[in-house]
């Protein structure tokens, strides 16, 4: 063996703590307009070195523009971008210590896989022997050693992406930018690649900035997520924070599915309050924020926290909200069913996993059945005062 390609050798090459501190990104009051349309509106936030950070949003929210700005392909109208201590706002892409994985991988069609990965090192005029060592190492990392002499046209989508990753990492950049890297892959492969990306991030330890419109992807691998809409950042937090404590209705609805409840506050206690909803009566909810009687508030309750039963459950306490409704629609998905229940004039969605715990769960619910929906008032989340 001429060289050792174990993961530990990797970690020796990349001094984690040093890289991590240098790999943090500061976005400072960035604004950008195209043809009179404001695409980024005064955005400021920080990405910590070594994080797996996702930027999540629908099309047109500005996430790709922001990513390309960090890469250096677009210049901001106003504001600055810092990489570690360095102001990179006006640096051209080839001078930034940042590398990008493109949506279509952008592999060089005229070069072999080996040469594609070697490309950055050849630019730096690294010695041939060292290039060989490094390229082989990264080919091992992405498990493509046998394909070294193939051309990109001979590879599958997943393999092409791995080449793109190896090529970007061989430069040992401080940050890796990923522009919707999984959107061109089919569903099963997407999941597999997502896990691989997570593993590579673990091994390499540098900052990953991951842009996607798929909230499931973002939730599953990110350390933190920034949710964007119309050029603004609505919320930044861990996946759990974003899911359980969404900043507003848009975030709540964008991430996963949810139910909204609105009403006037009629009573306030120490940790809970009650609102009067127009369609179905009094609802108890946990006070995540301070409210006063008379205010209109909006709650959100995730469908998996709403129980659906045919017969009235036996174990209820006064923290539970319970209503009667009729099953309008059900969607069976093997491991779970989604129920859409009308309560009053509102349609509630409730997810039920098919696991038999209590007697009630053993009942089969049919379309048009009269059912009870129950949820614990601690499970709802107070979004905002309207």
């Amino acid at each position: 063996m001429y060289f050792d390609v174990s993961i530990d050798t990797f970690k020796i090459y990349i001094v984690r703590s040093g890289i991590m501190k240098q790999g943090n990104i500061k976005i400072d009051s960035i604004s950008k307009s195209f043809d009179g349309v404001e695409v980024l509106k005064n955005i400021s936030f920080e990405i910590k070195g070594g994080e797996f950070f996702s930027i999540l949003g629908g099309s047109g929210c500005g996430k790709t523009t922001l990513l390309r700005m960090i890469a250096g392909f677009i210049e901001a109208d106003k504001g600055a971008i810092y990489l570690g201590k360095k102001d990179i706002t006006h640096l051209s892409p080839n001078k930034r210590d940042v590398n990008t994985i493109f949506q279509t991988y952008a592999l060089f069609p005229h070069l072999t896989i080996y040469e594609n990965i070697a490309f950055p090192l050849r630019l730096k005029k690294v010695k041939e022997a060292e290039i060989d060592r490094e390229v082989k190492k990264y080919l091992e990392l992405v498990k493509l050693s046998e394909h070294a002499n193939k051309y990109s046209s001979q590879l599958s989508g997943g393999q092409k992406q791995r080449v793109a990753i190896a090529r970007a990492l061989i430069n040992k950049p401080k940050v890796l930018l990923l522009d919707e890297p999984l959107s061109a892959l089919d569903a099963k492969l997407r999941q597999h690649m997502l896990i691989e990306l997570d593993n590579i991030h673990e091994e390499v330890g540098i900052t990953f900035v991951f842009v996607t419109h798929d909230q499931q992807e973002a939730l599953s691998v990110s350390d933190r997520i920034a949710v964007m809409k119309d050029g603004e950042v609505l919320q930044i937090g861990t996946p759990n924070e974003i899911y359980e404590s969404p900043a507003n209705a848009y975030v709540a609805d964008f991430i996963g599915e949810t139910n909204f409840i609105e009403g006037e506050v009629v009573e306030v206690e120490e940790n809970f309050a009650y609102l009067e909803s127009t369609s179905y009566g009094r609802i108890k909810f946990e006070l995540d924020k301070e409210v006063m009687v008379g205010q209109y508030v909006k709650l959100t309750i995730r469908p998996e926290k709403v129980k659906v039963t045919k017969s009235k459950p036996r174990y209820l306490d006064d923290n539970d909200n319970i209503f009667k409704g009729k099953v309008e629609e059900m969607i069976y998905s093997g491991f779970q069913s989604k129920f859409f229940v009308t309560v009053g004039n509102q349609l509630f969605s409730a997810f039920k996993q098919h696991v038999d715990f209590f007697e009630e769960d053993a009942e089969t619910i049919h379309w048009k059945d009269e059912v009870y929906i129950i949820w614990d008032s601690a499970d709802s989340f107070l979004l905002e005062v309207i």
Partner: protein, 257 residues
């Protein structure tokens, strides 16, 4: 299908129309007599072509020289121009688009006349170099449009990837853009060589005394009625063109794979 038969007939008639004069030429080149009536098979005109036509071969040499040099220069200039139009904005972009389109649609004679007047008015001596300048000028727009149409389908993300990985503008151009643009560049080069070898009108106006290209020489041969050698030359040229076309197809096939 009535329409199908009709168009097939027209097609066949057209083929006959296109090939008939060439067939006559080929047959006549082996005719030992000067006139139209058949005098017996002979290769004497070929003999005269190859062994007693020094001036013709000189003009052929000049044609090749000018074709190669003008096509290399025009391909280089045209390729860079196409890149500028496809990926960059600059103040005179609209102007460039207009002036690179016009030469393609204006009749040759206008270009020939205007170049002649230009050269004479600045007292520039007419000769091989003036022909070279003229040929490069009319070749550039062809190269530009051929390369530009290739650029329309070019995956620009590999250019961004090159920058992203640390390449300078020059490195990106030489290591990524040009290698992937090669088929278009070669097409442009071949087109230029063909146009240059074949050009008569423009060359006629800008040539000086003593500098002659093959088409000019052929023209003077036709005017002075030295017929049968022209027949032999025609056959050689036709054969050569077909051979070149065949080998070009082979090269292009090879490049695509």
């Amino acid at each position: 299908m009535n329409k199908k038969k009709f168009s097939m007939n027209i097609f066949i008639l057209t083929l006959v129309f296109l090939y008939l004069p060439l067939v006559v030429l080929i047959v006549q080149s082996f005719n030992s007599g000067k006139g139209v009536s058949w005098d017996g098979f002979s290769l004497k005109w070929y003999d005269e072509l190859f062994n007693h036509s020094a001036r013709l071969w000189t003009s052929f040499k000049y044609s090749i020289l000018i074709a190669v040099t003008s096509s290399i220069i025009s391909t280089a200039i045209g390729t860079l121009g196409a890149i500028s139009l496809q990926w960059y904005s600059f103040k005179h972009k609209k102007y460039l688009q207009v002036i690179s389109y016009l030469p393609l649609v204006l009749p040759d004679i206008i270009m020939g006349v205007s170049l002649l007047i230009l050269f004479t008015s600045i007292k520039f001596k007419l000769g091989l170099f003036s022909i070279f300048l003229a040929h490069t000028t009319f070749n550039i727009p062809f190269v530009l449009f051929i390369v530009l149409s290739r650029l329309h389908d070019f995956d620009y993300s590999i250019v961004e990837a090159a920058y992203d990985l640390g390449a300078t503008e020059k490195e990106t151009l030489t290591k990524v853009v040009l290698p992937n643009l090669m088929p278009g560049i070669i097409s442009g080069l071949l087109m230029s060589i063909t146009l240059s070898l074949d050009d008569f009108v423009i060359t006629f106006f800008v040539a000086g005394p003593g500098s002659s290209t093959l088409p000019l020489h052929i023209y003077s041969m036709i005017k002075f009625g030295v017929s049968p050698v022209i027949n032999a030359l025609s056959v050689i040229l036709i054969a050569g063109t077909i051979a070149l076309a065949m080998s070009t197809k082979k090269i292009q096939k090879y490049m695509v794979s």
